[in-house]
């Protein structure tokens, strides 16, 4: 019995709870607990990754109840991959934050750990309602993180963010319970079986449940036309928070992938295929509008926020293409975009701090004191996000383009991807040339603290991961292919969770029949 799968959830949760008890403790202690917990679960994640890679999904039955009755944690390759990404990002962001940001927010460390716990839980759980719970955890923690500092703009952005997502959570509940009402189960693997054998008269209801569910995930993923909460929330959040949020939209993407590959896969008569007609147009629209938003942005952080949206569009384009190749491409791009957007938020923060009152506004500001390293950092981030080779952005784009090659809509997809690439390039070069090249003499000297070594290390770590995606492109894409293969053959997941002999897990309700 290995308890590995519980570690990424339990350890941050307990550490965060401990931090609550010790909320008056000195910041050093909080940092120690925060970093300790992050490192601990990071190690566990590595172990999970290593184990999940080899084949069958790992399953952890909480409370020792058999599936599909109890809640299960499942780590297949996709989950392991997302966990690893989360852990890497979390560690880097935390390192960045402990250079001083964490002391400004009142409750940074517990919120951070709860946020990470929510993310890990969402990636691990094999139960639809439990997924809701983890969504709520990561959301409420993110509200808290998003408003840290309590500036008006931040509050307003958080209010909009929270209002839309709380409304969406209600719909999440409706969708989950609707699926329960018709299929009688909550376990995702079991749900997959139940949905496959749904009666004709229930098809509409199940599809409605599935579509509502996907809609909810689309809100979290920030897909058109449900992304309006994102730009303000991300662009006004503290830099390390925004950087951590780079993975938040990916939770939505993950959930879309999970649900569409496991539960609503279409099957023989394709009646349960939910995404075919609309996912691609939606993805491309998201990509386009995200890019346009980045192009028209007035602030660096806003630009990055819109690039987050665009990246989701790009990933979903890969997902919409379908098949293991499309998924693999989407996954590679997902990893790339998460890392680079985090980098971009952090670099943006360093630039902002160097520009005094001008902040990260895209108009001329005072000359930067650390122009060379900052310029290099922005150059890296900008060219990576714009897909200039030899960055992970280029490879990601390349793989997505290749994966969409033999589809019907290839002309449309390529046109959108290439045109948005040019626009992204224009946006980044514009932003960079304004922020780094265009100086005016400052009215007053800037007092913000200069970049610290730890911040550089955090940045370098993330950039290193991004470059790792390039240097080790072959093993990474091979892993992504394996993920895609595993996702497109859902039987292994179902068997790992439910066992091979699929029993009669559901029973009709009958009055007076139950004898305890």
């Amino acid at each position: 019995m290995t308890h590995l799968l519980a570690v990424p959830i339990i350890v941050p949760a307990l550490a965060a709870a401990l931090l609550l008890i010790l909320h008056r403790a000195p910041i050093v202690m909080k940092r120690a607990i925060g970093i300790g917990a992050t490192v601990t679960f990071g190690i566990a994640v590595l172990a999970i990754f290593a184990e999940a890679r080899s084949g069958a999904p790992l399953v952890y039955r909480l409370g020792n109840w058999p599936s599909p009755f109890g809640i299960v944690l499942v780590a297949d390759r996709l989950s392991a991959f997302m966990l690893l990404l989360t852990a890497s990002l979390a560690l880097a962001v935390l390192l960045y934050a402990v250079q001083g940001w964490d002391a400004r927010g009142k409750l940074f460390h517990p919120l951070f750990l709860f946020q990470v716990m929510g993310l890990n839980g969402a990636f691990l759980t094999g139960d639809l309602f439990n997924l809701f719970v983890f969504f709520e955890i990561l959301l409420i923690a993110s509200y808290g993180l998003a408003m840290e500092g309590l500036e008006v703009e931040r509050l307003r952005a958080t209010l909009h963010y929270a209002a839309i997502n709380i409304a969406a959570s209600s719909i999440f509940l409706i969708a989950v319970s609707l699926l329960y009402g018709v299929t009688g189960t909550l376990n995702m693997a079991h749900l997959a079986e139940r949905v496959a054998e749904v009666r004709a008269e229930d098809v509409g209801l199940v599809r409605a449940g599935g579509l509502l569910l996907l809609g909810v995930f689309a809100v979290k993923a920030a897909v058109f036309p449900l992304y309006f909460w994102l730009p303000a929330a991300y662009s006004h959040a503290l830099a390390p928070v925004a950087a951590l949020f780079a993975i938040m939209t990916k939770v939505g993407v993950y959930a879309i992938i999970r649900v569409t590959t496991l539960i609503f896969t279409g099957g023989e008569d394709a009646v349960m295929e939910l995404t075919a007609p609309w996912l691609l147009p939606v993805a491309l629209t998201t990509l386009t509008l995200g890019t346009l938003g980045a192009l028209g942005a007035q602030r660096l952080a806003t630009m990055t926020a819109y690039l987050t949206i665009a990246s989701v569009g790009m990933i979903l384009t890969g997902v919409a293409t379908g098949g293991s190749k499309g998924l693999a491409a989407a996954l590679y791009y997902l990893a790339h975009s998460t890392l680079v957007i985090a980098v971009l938020f952090l670099v943006g923060d360093l630039l902002r701090r160097g520009r005094g009152a001008t902040g990260d506004q895209l108009h001329p500001g005072p000359p930067l004191r650390h122009a060379a390293p900052l310029g290099l950092a922005f150059l890296f981030a900008g060219s990576t996000v714009a897909g200039i080779p030899p960055s992970s952005g280029f490879l990601g784009k390349l793989i997505i383009l290749q994966s969409t090659m033999n589809g019907l809509s290839v002309v449309l997809i390529w046109t959108v991807i290439l045109v948005t690439s040019v626009l992204t390039l224009a946006a980044c070069s514009r932003a960079g040339s304004i922020v780094l090249w265009n100086y005016v003499e400052p009215d007053q000297p800037t007092h913000d603290r200069p970049p610290r070594a730890g911040e550089w290390i955090a940045l370098a770590g993330l950039a290193g991961c991004s470059m790792g995606l390039v240097i080790f492109a072959a093993p990474v894409t091979q892993y992504a292919d394996e993920v895609g293969t595993q996702l497109t053959s859902r039987e292994s997941y179902i068997e790992a969770v439910l066992g091979s002999g699929s029993g009669d897990f559901v029973r009709p309700y009958a009055k007076g029949k139950v004898t305890p």
């Binding site: 519980a6 339990i10 949760a13 307990l14 709870a17 931090l19 609550l20 008890i21 909480l62 409370g63 020792n64 109840w65 809640i71 009142k106 409750l107 517990p110 919120l111 709860f114 716990m117 309602f129 719970v133 955890i137 509200y143 840290e148 309590l150 909009h160 839309i164 409304a167 719909i171 329960y180 009688g184 098809v203 509409g204 599809r207 579509l211 509502l212 996907l214 449900l226 938003g293 192009l295 028209g296 200039i388 490879l395 390349l398 383009l401 090659m405 040019v422 390039l425 224009a426 514009r430 040339s433 090249w437 265009n438 492109a473 072959a474 292919d481 029973r507 009709p508 139950v514 305890p516």
Partner: protein, 930 residues
């Protein structure tokens, strides 16, 4: 490893060294850049004999083989020629730049970028893998962006850099698409494989699309009309950059690419037609415009455009000799144009201006510079004895020998003549206006340039003459292998020589020279060239408009889509979900089931009616907020009655307690907010919202009705059967909460805890503004506080009761926590927080955090015993006198729940409750009396 080393040496060694050495002075930096370049050059030269002997290298390492991307390199004649040009001219530019840049400038950065560019360029010419080539291609765009924008303070530099980046980078994306198509057809991205599969690829229906995309990439990079405009704008770069990038290297990447792919593309009618047409147009256009540029570098830029058009034209033609001419002219143009740029740089450097209207008579001050400029300009004009003459003569010969090119056959000779005459004219102008004319208020008296600044230009000038006079002994072998790399072994017998006897091309050269001189004389003395106001930079302006416009448009579109209105975003979200929910039923129809289990009862009707009336009333009265709370409270009460009636007492309990807490919460908050809502919604807005609301309501009602009337199959039996024997409790719902689905509950108390933390954080800082607590009115103190005090012990008792029985009967940690919290909240309302806390010390944080820890640790206890997290254990120890005591480990978990719920409820309510209203007294009165 030779090729990768040649490519990477400048980048790695150069970048590192230049950055490290920049503080040690210019010379150190220059040496640091020059030595690796020289080393690369030496390595390449070492390979030269082999290549000249007709061999070629292929080296390959795998990178991302599944996606066709490999480190594959090729060294053949074409690559060799380009490599020598890149490294050789690069070396000269490094030397030149050392004297060109002024002392304050960051020379380390300059050389580092130059080295980056050099490596990228070498990468292009040595790539065997198309995708690898493309990566280097885009890297040249990036590094040229950085180099053009090197003088960051200049708006023109920034603009020019962005423009070059957008055009060439964008072209690169088109190229990417084209290559992907071909790679997909060929099943490989190795160029050799493409050449082998030539027929398959060319017969594929998608080939023409790919070709178009590739040409787009090449044309943008090589500044072909109508994509030429970025090149003049790029003249804002430091002159060494222009000399290197915009004459010898980067702009040649486009023609290089077509030469490289010639085995695949050559002879394709579309390729030929498009390329020759574009090339010819560009050539004439560029030459024509060049005559009218007053800026030296502007003239040279348009001249470059023109020559690139010439090369493009030659490459496009489907004859082996034309390709040879193209390759030859690439080299010639690189030498004389680099030299001219350097001369222009020297002039600019020494006179402070590049405006030919102001310059003049420099022959006297700088005769050596004048001489080498004259040599280079003569080569540019195609004067015999200089290298340009040789390739230009071949060009004339090819232009006269067109066939199968429709209209072009008739136009080409005329166009070629015109272009050549213009070319002569601007060359003459360059020399005459700068060195012989009279100066007009020069910024300062020109002085002699540093000795070594002239050396690079001189070297190039010597090359121009050497090649021009003795082609056979200098470049002929190189050009030959390069051309063979392009057209294969189809080259006929030929001879590159100064003298071919009297021929039509020779006559054309002569006519061009004389005609060009006449044109210049006419322009200068009849047209008054110096008063000519340069036409608008049409392409550039168009681009700039498009660029700025797209930014403005993007911003406007974004702002219109997302105008910051939450109401609108929410409406969109709701509308989207309505669509999502309705869509399946549009497709599949809706089946309502036939089961109805329960008959109508009077309380049922009334409670249902109360819920509806409460909800509708809350909407109707929502402007008076307190009334809306009352009415919304009815909905909650009705819900709890419904829960109770339909056999869910646990829900009823929780809903009741939560309802009270929520009401308190809303009221406490309302006390800090305006007491009423203004009537501000427009009629249209109300209609829209009503429609959305009605649709949402109808949708949810239909869904619930459809499910309610269906038979049910579910996993519920398992919980009912196992609750008692394996969960140790009669109350299935509670066993679900703390055992079967305890993990949900664990998450849920965390949500609560976080919510409380966030609430506390939000109210932080508002507490301090509070005035000293005034004693509450006597009546409140007497009546409410006393009742609260009396109820407290009983409420705690009831909470304990609920807690202890929860596993078997309705109750549990939640309800218990809520009741205990309410009991304490009553004290808080009666006494105030300070007095309450003075009496009972409760650290809310301890309760929240401790609750989560206890719940978690209880769950972990099973881990110690070797079971998964949250596995529960049941013990029924028999204690003397007391009898059997049912102990369920889940109770520890429930204790955690209890503590967290208690702590969070108190923290949330007291946090908000402690805030002092921030309104003036008068405002409060006004609001209050209304």
């Amino acid at each position: 490893m030779t090729l990768p080393i040649i490519i990477l040496l400048p980048l790695l060694a150069g970048t590192a060294a230049t950055l490290l050495l920049q503080r040690r002075g210019f010379s150190a930096a220059a040496w640091a850049a020059a030595l690796p370049t020289a080393a690369s050059l030496a390595l390449l030269t070492y390979q030269t004999p082999t290549i000249l002997a007709g061999e070629r290298f292929l080296q390959s390492w795998q990178w991302l083989p599944d996606h066709g991307l490999n480190f594959s390199f090729r060294l053949d004649g074409l690559g060799l020629m380009f490599g020598l040009l890149i490294l050789g001219i690069g070396l000269l530019v490094i030397l030149y730049a050392r004297y060109y840049l002024s002392a304050q400038e960051p020379i380390g950065r300059f050389y580092a970028l130059l080295m980056l560019f050099m490596s990228a360029m070498l990468g292009i010419v040595f790539s065997e893998n198309a995708l690898l080539l493309l990566m280097f291609w885009e890297l040249t765009s990036l590094s040229s962006f950085l180099l053009i924008g090197f003088w960051t303070h200049s708006p023109l530099a920034r603009q020019g850099a962005r423009m070059a980046f957008a055009v060439t980078g964008g072209g690169g994306l088109a190229l990417l698409a084209g290559m992907l198509i071909i790679g997909n057809i060929a099943g490989s991205f190795e160029l050799s494989a493409w050449f082998t599969a030539r027929e398959t690829i060319r017969n594929h229906p998608q080939f023409n699309v790919a070709l178009g995309l590739i040409l787009l990439g090449a044309f943008t990079k090589s500044a072909q009309f109508p994509f030429h405009f970025w090149l003049p704008a790029a003249m804002a770069a430091p002159t060494p950059v222009s000399a290197y990038l915009h004459s010898a290297t980067m702009v040649k990447a486009g023609v290089f690419l077509l030469a490289r792919l010639y085995p695949l593309l050559g002879g394709n009618p579309m390729f030929e037609y498009v390329t020759t047409t574009v090339g010819l147009t560009t050539m004439v256009f560029g030459a024509y415009v060049a005559m009218f540029r007053h800026d030296l570098k502007g003239l040279l830029a348009y001249s470059t455009i023109s020559h690139l058009g010439l090369i493009m034209f030659l490459l496009g033609l489907d004859t082996p000799m034309s390709s040879l001419a193209a390759v030859f002219h690439i080299g010639n143009h690189a030498t004389f144009k680099a030299s001219l740029f350097m001369a222009a740089g020297i002039i600019d450097h020494e006179c402070g201006t590049r405006d030919m209207r102001r310059l003049g008579g420099l022959w006297r001050q700088m005769p050596q510079t004048a001489l080498l400029a004259i040599v280079a300009a003569s080569a540019m004009a195609g004067v015999p004895l200089f290298n340009g003459f040789l390739s230009k003569e071949m060009f004339f010969a090819e232009a006269l020998d067109l066939h199968d090119l429709l209209l072009l056959e008739d136009i080409a000779p005329v166009a070629v003549m015109l272009g050549s005459m213009f070319s002569v004219a601007y060359s003459v102008r360059f020399i005459h206006d700068v060195f012989f004319d009279e100066p007009h208020n020069l910024p300062h008296q020109p002085h002699k340039p540093p000795r070594y600044m002239k050396v690079p230009a001189e070297v190039l000038a010597v090359v121009c003459i050497a090649v021009g006079v003795l082609p056979g002994y200098t470049v002929a072998p190189l050009v030959d292998v390069a051309a063979r790399a392009v057209v294969g072994d189809a080259l006929p017998a030929y001879r590159i020589a100064l003298w071919h006897g009297f021929s039509l091309p020779l006559a054309m050269s002569a006519v061009a020279l004389v005609g060009g001189a006449v044109i210049y004389w006419l322009l200068r003395h009849r047209y008054d060239l110096h008063l000519h106001v340069p036409a608008h930079y049409t392409g550039r302006l168009l681009f700039q408009h498009a660029y700025d416009g797209s930014i403005v448009l993007a911003a406007r579109l974004t702002n219109q889509l997302h105008n910051g209105s939450l109401q609108r975003s929410l409406a969109l979200v709701i509308a989207t979900f309505l669509g999502l929910g309705a869509w399946p039923f549009v497709e599949h129809g809706l089946d309502i089931g036939k089961v109805t289990s329960s008959t109508l009862t009077p309380p049922g009707i009334v409670v249902g009616g109360a819920a509806m009336a409460g909800a509708l009333g809350a909407v109707w009265f929502h402007h008076t907020r307190v009334v809306a709370i009352v009415l919304a409270g009815v909905v909650g009460l009705a819900a709890s009655i419904a829960f109770a009636y339909f056999s869910a007492p646990d829900l009823a309990l929780t809903q009741l307690a939560i309802e009270v807490v929520s009401t308190l919460l809303l009221l406490i908050a309302l006390a800090l907010l305006p007491h009423s809502t203004p009537r501000e919604s427009t009629r249209r807005r109300k209609m829209r919202d009503t429609a959305l609301a009605a649709a949402a309501g109808a949708g949810v009602a239909v869904l619930s009705w459809a499910v309610l009337t269906r038979d049910q199959e579910s996993i519920a039996w398992f919980f009912l059967e196992n609750s008692l024997p394996r969960g140790g409790g009669h109350n299935v719902v509670n066993v679900l909460l703390v055992d079967f689905r305890g993990f949900d509950t664990f998450g849920e108390i965390i949500v609560l805890g976080i919510a409380a933390m966030c609430t506390w954080m939000l109210m932080d800082g508002l507490r301090g503004e509070r005035q000293a607590e005034r004693p509450s009115p006597a009546a409140d103190r007497m009546i409410f506080a006393v009742a609260a005090r009396i109820l407290l012990p009983f409420a705690l008792l009831v909470a304990l009761h609920m807690f202890l029985r929860g596993h078997d009967l309705p109750g549990g940690g939640f309800v218990a926590g809520l009741i205990a919290a309410l009991a304490l909240i009553m004290q808080y309302m009666g006494e105030g927080l300070r007095r309450m806390l003075a009496h009972i010390r409760i650290d809310f944080w301890l309760w929240i955090g401790g609750g989560v820890v206890i719940a978690g640790v209880t769950g972990l206890a099973s881990v110690v015993a070797g079971f998964p997290f949250l596995t529960s254990g049941t013990r029924h120890p028999v204690v003397p006198l007391l009898g059997e005591i049912p102990l369920v480990s889940a109770m520890g978990f429930d204790l955690g729940v209890f503590m967290t719920v208690l702590g969070t409820t108190l923290l949330i309510l007291t946090s908000i409750g402690q805030v002092h209203r921030k309104t003036s007294k008068t405002e409060e009165n006004q609001q209050w009396n209304s």
